[in-house]
């Protein structure tokens, strides 16, 4: 099979998947967890427990506060201590439920046996309801509630679901590990989503820098023998895991500016989401665990880990379990080094979408002094959306809103390719993000006024 990749732009940063060989370990329970109510895109959940309440693993502690919102469950058993604002990794105040851990008692409905249930349910609405009740969100980075994405608006129909196993960000290896260790469960999860979307085609896309994962997934798929499902091997290039890029790479279709992937008949879900769907539907287990990578550019192999964590664990606790924050780390990133967030507050707790703790040295991450644009066009060559970052940057500085819209600032996916390749160290993404925000606000404003 010939290897595909997306057609426009892209970069090849150093792979740096140092922790690819580290088997997933289960973290012990901390004495106390802080469960954030804003673990998903959309409205934060509303806490439905009060201090003093006893909770078990899997008890609902937060209810969705809107259409785009999600349930939050207790990751531990114990007593609710406080329900109060607490700082998240960016230092912003977010409602948290603090639970003191007592034992490890799970809700009776959760199937904790290791058996793999291969039988795929057929009641679409019941499955969607299960996914919603389990609080499953997209684990590829955006944490968009899965049940909303899997239930496209009437009139639009999916003809292909893409399971994103590309993990194109450098350093991250957690998706790689689950594909090696739990391939059948991922494939069953994919098949469930395939059923929900009306039996469309399903493609599991994996980049060619993960041969073990490809082999393991192929073997599992052959064992299960599902029809209408295939594994596509993609040529490594960042940002392959971007929704629009993946659709371009696998289906050779492009989502129109401002439209959703469903408009070209595609739904994209991450492999970790597929696993969460499997657990939610077949095992009744809500989304309270996920896999994360502990890695860094100068971290010795002994410090590299892939962990199965429970949400609400303080990041500092997780870092301690992995041997503490290394001396050299000048920046801690949660998520990949290209699109992840820098951790401003290590006391914050892990959330559903936490993908890593990445320790970067000063040499690797400290920004250099901004120079003058030499018009080399490397930013435009690397932009996977075909934009001209140098131009949008200039228009943003000049405050030319109409010009920014014409240059399609609103299509920026903030992948960081332009800034990564800029020889003059111009902070393009910082400014492009602002430009995008301004144009989006303007478009929204216009739409509201038009009505």
């Amino acid at each position: 099979m010939s290897k595909h990749t997306f057609s426009i732009g892209g970069i090849h940063p150093q792979d740096a998947k140092f922790s690819r060989g580290c088997a997933t370990e289960v973290l012990p329970l901390p004495p106390v967890v802080y469960v954030s109510m804003a673990q998903h895109l959309g409205a934060p959940a509303v806490p439905c427990v009060a201090p003093g309440d006893k909770v078990k693993v899997g008890t609902v502690i937060g209810e969705p506060a809107g259409f785009i919102s999600a349930y939050v469950h207790s990751p531990v058993s114990g007593t609710v201590k406080t329900v109060a604002p607490r700082k998240d990794i960016l230092g912003n105040n977010v409602m948290h439920v603090e639970i003191t851990v007592e034992g490890d008692e799970w809700e009776e409905t959760i199937d904790r046996t290791p058996d793999i249930i291969t039988e795929i349910p057929t009641d679409r609405n019941a499955v969607l309801d299960k996914i919603k009740m389990a609080g499953v969100v997209g684990l590829g980075g955006a944490t968009f509630p899965a049940h909303v994405k899997l239930n496209p608006a009437p009139g639009s129909k999916a003809d292909c679901i893409l399971i994103n196993g590309s993990e194109c960000e450098p350093y991250l290896t957690s998706d790689n590990r689950i594909m090696i260790e739990r391939p059948s469960e991922i494939i069953i999860g994919a098949a469930i989503m395939q059923m929900v979307l009306g039996g469309c085609r399903c493609v599991i896309a994996i980049e060619d820098n993960k041969p073990e994962a490809i082999a393991s997934m192929k073997a599992a798929l052959a064992d299960l023998g599902y029809k209408n499902m295939e594994i596509a091997v993609l040529k490594k290039k960042y940002p392959q895991g971007g929704e629009k890029q993946l659709i371009d790479a696998v289906l050779k279709r492009q989502v129109r500016s401002g439209a959703l992937p469903i408009s070209v008949g595609a739904v994209v879900q991450n492999v970790a989401t597929a696993l969460a769907v499997y657990e939610a539907v077949q095992k009744n287990k809500p989304l309270i665990t996920n896999t994360m990578t502990i890695t860094g550019d100068l971290l010795p192999v002994s410090g590299q880990h892939n962990y199965l964590f429970r949400i609400g664990m303080p990041l500092s606790f997780i870092a301690e379990q992995a041997g503490g924050v290394p001396e050299y780390a000048a920046k801690i990133v949660s998520g990949g080094p290209m699109m992840g967030k820098a951790v401003a507050n290590l006391d914050a707790s892990a959330v559903k979408g936490t993908a890593s703790l990445l320790y970067l040295s000063k040499e690797a991450t400290k920004r250099k002094e901004e120079g003058h644009c030499i018009r080399c066009a490397k930013c435009a060559d690397s932009c996977p959306m075909g934009l001209e970052p140098f131009l949008i940057n200039r228009l943003y500085k000049a405050g030319d809103l109409a010009g920014m819209e014409k240059a399609s600032a609103q299509d920026c996916i903030e992948c960081g390719c332009c800034q990564y390749s800029c020889p003059a160290n111009i902070p393009l993404v910082d400014n492009l993000r602002m430009a995008k925000g301004q144009v989006m606000a303007e478009i929204k404003n216009r739409r509201n006024n038009g009505k």
């Binding site: 912003n92 967030k341 920004r367 910082d430 993000r433 925000g437």
Partner: protein, 287 residues
């Protein structure tokens, strides 16, 4: 030789005449009739085009002022009452006197008061920084210190003090146009009444966290204890969301709250020196 000379002069002169004629005709045809008063009003305005009045610039303001039935909604904060009086004379309108205002920064999170807990390494822009995270201190409400307000000020009235990391307002230059209040992503700058002889009392903090957290974040933060509200004889102080606020329309500058505040978050500026204690406060706020 003479022939060439004459030809050259003739052609150039002819060309000049024809082009002048074209320009004249175009100017005549496309002439825009404008109310002459707009020009007069615009000349009376300060001409800074700061946008503080809510219009795009001085010309837009003059245009709106001429077309409006009265001057109630049009006030040039930069020119103040003097300029508005002139504008009113030109247009034959009444003008409402407005109290002069001045920009006031409601944050005292200097480097000394508010320890930095991380190092920001992005674009030096408050907007970008605020979009990224809560800031490089434990106070998610305080000044980010990147100087967007300084850049927004058209009058050079703001400057960043490298020692405190906070912007400072030069009262003699501030025209209360309000550009900085819009530029600050945290909404820390407020336009307050300038007060008699520029004397003002205000809460120099915008932190809405509980007192416990505020204390941890900043030595000078309002903890919302409410002592000031209790002591105020004029009912000018309200405490909401753990933050005291002094209503400048009610404040009579008695300074009882200043003495009562356990943190020193209430600042009294430009008061004549009476007691050594007040002087300390004054110096602190002027630094």
């Amino acid at each position: 030789m003479t022939g060439i000379f004459l030809w050259t002069v003739g052609i150039l002169a002819g060309l000049g005449f024809i082009l002048a004629l074209v320009l004249f005709l175009i100017a005549k045809k496309f002439k825009v009739e404008e109310d002459p008063r707009i020009d007069l009003v615009e000349k009376a305005l300060p001409g800074a085009n700061c946008g503080g009045c809510g219009f795009a610039g001085c010309h837009a303001f003059a245009d709106a002022a001429v077309k409006a039935p009265n001057l109630d909604n049009n006030f040039c904060p930069v020119g103040g009452n003097d300029v508005m009086k002139k504008v009113a004379e030109i247009l034959g309108y009444e003008v409402k006197q407005q109290t002069p205002k001045v920009a006031v920064l409601r944050c005292n999170g200097s480097c000394e008061n508010r320890p930095r807990i991380n190092e920001y390494d992005g674009v030096k822009s408050c907007r970008v920084k605020a979009a990224l995270y809560a800031g490089d201190t434990l106070c998610p409400y305080g000044c980010l210190g990147c100087g967007d307000c300084v850049a927004a000020c058209a009058f050079g009235a703001l400057s960043l003090n490298p020692e405190t990391g906070l912007p400072e307002v030069d009262e003699s230059k501030c025209t209360a146009c309000g550009a900085c209040t819009k530029a600050c992503p945290k909404g820390l700058i407020e336009l307050r009444n300038k007060g008699p002889r520029s004397m003002r009392v205000y809460v120099c903090c915008s932190n809405k966290d509980k007192g416990m957290f505020t204390r941890k974040a900043c030595k000078a933060g309002c903890i919302g204890c409410g002592k000031c509200a209790k002591v105020c004889p004029h009912g000018a102080i309200t405490v909401e969301n753990n933050l005291a606020y002094i209503d400048y329309t009610k404040c009579k500058l008695c300074k009882k709250c200043v003495a009562e505040c356990p943190i020193g978050a209430i600042h009294a500026v430009n008061f004549p020196v009476l007691k050594p204690k007040t002087e300390e406060k004054k110096e602190a706020s002027n630094e």
